[in-house]
């Protein structure tokens, strides 16, 4: 039973990280108008920035130049800043494009960024990645306790992300991006500048995603380009659609449901010979549940509810 608890802890930890990215994506694509298929790009930039700032210098068989060994809090700020900066650069050409084209180009940018990690060995140690990374507070606790500590840290990050994204979507800025989502022409007549507002939104969501990238590094203790392929983007989108796009609660629940679904078959005990068949069922199961949700709850488990001004002002 205690073992099950530690396994559940590991799942909750990952779900919390997914939850952070889900909320950032929800802010962009649910509350706001930006259908971003390249969210993994900023996630990776955040992760790599954190690693380069905090990792020790390269060993003799590695080839990356940096590894400043700075404190973790510097890494945290660096992760968010670098991802925000990357988002700003990507936004320069992409925000000229309309919805579907924006989606295609962000997908391409995420892939370009991944190829960059794989090829620029002087910076990222290439496909071999950088490993043996420290986890926060690891020395202060017994190894058996540490999974709980890491979970607590990730849940704290999740809570901070929840508070920030909620605050942002209730703010005047949040109302502006919602207006852009609903009717851009009308928003413009109301004095909202679409490109500048969208850019602020894209950079903000990018910075939050980069911040979440740091937790992903803590969870994995290494960073390799393969972690940041477009599968991750699609997982986050799937989670958001399961939960309910546009809804803060939906983004949170979607992440947990998705991870639980994805790992649910790990709870089933089978013989070694059955294992191959069972694991191949897993992707099918996730797909089936996604179809069922779209069939019976097309707006997700927790659909977005219309905002009433009285309610909005209470949270302001």
């Amino acid at each position: 039973m205690d073992g099950l608890l530690i396994f559940a802890t590991s799942m909750v930890t990952l779900a919390a990280i997914y939850g952070m990215v889900c909320m950032a994506l929800n802010l962009e694509a649910g509350v706001g108008p930006l259908w971003d298929l390249g969210i993994v790009g900023c996630f990776g930039v955040g992760g790599y920035a954190y690693v380069l700032l905090t990792a020790d210098p390269a060993a003799d068989y590695q080839s990356y130049l940096f590894g400043f060994g700075l404190p973790m809090w510097v890494g945290a700020i660096g992760a968010a800043t670098a991802a925000g900066l990357a988002a700003w650069l990507i936004s320069l050409p992409t925000l000229r494009l309309r919805k579907e084209y924006f989606l295609i180009v962000t997908l391409a940018f995420a892939e370009v960024i991944r190829q960059f990690y794989a090829n620029e060995e002087w910076l990222t140690n290439g496909v071999a990645g950088i490993y043996g990374l420290d986890q926060p507070l690891k020395q202060q606790f017994a190894p058996g306790d540490y999974p709980y500590v890491l979970m607590a840290l990730c849940l704290a990050g999740l809570a901070a992300t929840w508070a920030l994204t909620r605050q942002l979507s209730k703010s005047p800025f949040g109302r502006s991006i919602k207006a852009l989502r609903e009717n851009e022409a009308l928003a413009i007549t109301a004095g909202i500048e679409p490109t500048a507002t969208s850019r602020r939104l894209y950079v903000t969501a990018g910075a939050i995603t980069g911040f979440a990238g740091m937790f992903f590094v803590w969870y994995n203790t290494l960073i390799v380009p393969g972690q940041f392929d477009s599968d991750f983007t699609f997982f986050i989108w799937a989670a958001l659609i399961i939960g309910g796009i546009g809804s803060q609660r939906g983004a949170l629940v979607g992440a947990f449901v998705f991870i639980l679904l994805h790992d649910s078959l790990r709870f089933v005990q089978v013989s070694g010979e059955m294992a191959v068949a069972l694991t191949s069922l897993r992707t099918a199961l996730v797909g089936l549940v996604l179809i069922l949700i779209l069939r019976f709850r097309p707006d997700g488990l927790f659909p977005e509810r219309p905002d009433r001004m009285t309610k909005g002002s209470r949270h302001a």
Partner: protein, 413 residues
């Protein structure tokens, strides 16, 4: 009060951590052994073969009476070929199933699990990880091992063969700028220079060009005896043809990418006859490989293939099981303490679990000789490939084995 409760918590946690291990020690309870590979994702196509090897190993162990009187149960777990998948898979194997040993993870997963292995005292034995990150990371006390050779071992093989068998202490490298060829060239270069060879120059070919005349001229300027050619097929063919057209008849030492009949056909026999390539493999006529191959074929209706890591996986289960027997308990600590011991030269050579148990019960030291090789872990938990064949393109255009070299004593990386 605070310290007391804290101590109680720690005791509870310690008990939690030890609980699965003590479960395994009860009478009749099966001992679980974990296989953690990518059943889904990039490794998906290869994983069923590894799972088969694990099934075969566990069945053989059970036929021989199990480990210390307990039957063995195989728990196969998917790591989705990703690092975070490996984290959750390993957590489940250790904390839910209580396995004392995890076998199988590929390069990135096992590198990510290094501190997990020590923290939980569960040895992790890769059977396919070539990563150089493990060259000096594993061994007794670290809980990290691998039963396949490092990618850099292939570089050592090239270097040793050139230096010792061909007396070639200087060489020019011609390398196409691709991930696979560059990596092969780099591992070779490191090993060759370390073992006393000199690289005269390294000429880089940009992929996808039709004309390599200027590179040919650069190489010709050195009047070379032999050229280390690490390229893909298309570029390799273009380079050797253009050199030949200019009247240069160099000897080529090629990497694995060019070791195929296609290369000979495309380039022309008259140009590439005499080219050499070393290949590392299982000793295919060895008793241990023959025994494994026959058992595998009988069980699954297909022959195991060198390069699919089936033999490496089978061997990992065998040495882990023997280490538990040698240590007298089915714990990760016992495996870590005895894994290197049960496969060390000097002991009685055994090629099966049953023979190993019999020898251990007779009080002998044992040396498990695996299907994939001798499984002699060095101080870093690395192994070598036992045999290297030197292939050469004959005058009629076939790749012929001209030499077999025992590579057991080569440095592992």
């Amino acid at each position: 009060m605070l310290t007391a409760s804290r101590r109680a918590t720690l005791a509870l946690l310690a008990a939690t951590a030890l609980a699965p291990l003590s479960v395994a020690a009860q009478d009749g309870e099966p001992i679980k052994m974990g296989l953690l590979v990518g059943f889904t994702g990039d490794m998906g196509p290869w994983a069923p073969a590894l799972n088969n090897a694990a099934i075969l190993a566990v069945e053989e162990i059970n036929e021989a009476g199990g480990i210390l009187g307990h039957p063995v149960e195989l728990i196969s777990e998917d790591n989705t070929s990703t690092v975070d998948g490996a984290m959750r898979g390993a957590t489940r194997l250790v904390n839910v199933e209580g396995v004392p040993v995890i076998i199988g993870p590929e390069s990135d997963p096992i590198v990510a699990l290094r501190s997990f292995a020590v923290d939980n005292q569960v040895p992790i034995i890769s059977t396919s990880a070539g990563t150089e990150a493990l060259n000096e990371a594993g061994g007794t006390g670290t809980y990290i091992y691998r039963t396949n050779a490092s990618d850099s071992f292939l570089g050592v093989v090239h270097a040793k063969m050139l230096l010792d068998e061909m007396d070639q202490s200087e060489i020019i490298m011609v390398v196409e700028n691709l991930e696979g060829t560059t990596s092969a060239a780099n591992t070779f270069k490191a090993a060759y220079e370390r073992l006393g060879g000199t690289i005269i120059d390294e000429v880089v070919l940009a992929p996808g060009q039709t004309n390599y005349q200027s590179e040919v001229r650069t190489v010709a300027g050195y009047e070379p005896d032999m050229i280390f050619l690490a390229t893909g097929q298309t570029t390799g063919v273009a380079f050797v043809r253009q050199a030949y057209q200019r009247g240069y008849d160099w000897d080529y030492w090629v990497t694995a990418e060019l070791q195929s009949p296609d290369f000979v056909d495309a380039a022309g026999v008259e140009i590439v006859a005499g080219a050499l390539n070393p290949v590392s493999s299982q000793v295919e006529d060895s008793e241990s490989w023959g025994r494994f191959s026959a058992a595998y074929s009988a069980r699954f209706d297909e022959a195991p293939e060198p390069g699919f890591y089936q033999a490496e996986t089978y061997d990992a289960f065998m040495v882990a099981a023997l280490a538990m027997v040698a240590g007298g308990e089915a714990t990760g600590a016992a495996v870590d303490a005895n894994l290197t011991e049960v496969a060390t030269p000097g002991g009685t050579e055994v090629i099966s679990f049953a023979d190993g148990v019999a020898a251990l019960e007779a009080g002998e030291e044992i040396n498990y000789e695996g299907a994939s090789g001798s499984i002699n872990f060095n101080e870093y938990g690395n192994v070598t490939i036992p045999a290297t064949r030197l292939l050469q393109i004959s005058e009629d255009g076939t790749w012929e084995t001209i030499m077999m070299v025992d590579s057991t004593e080569f440095p592992a990386n």
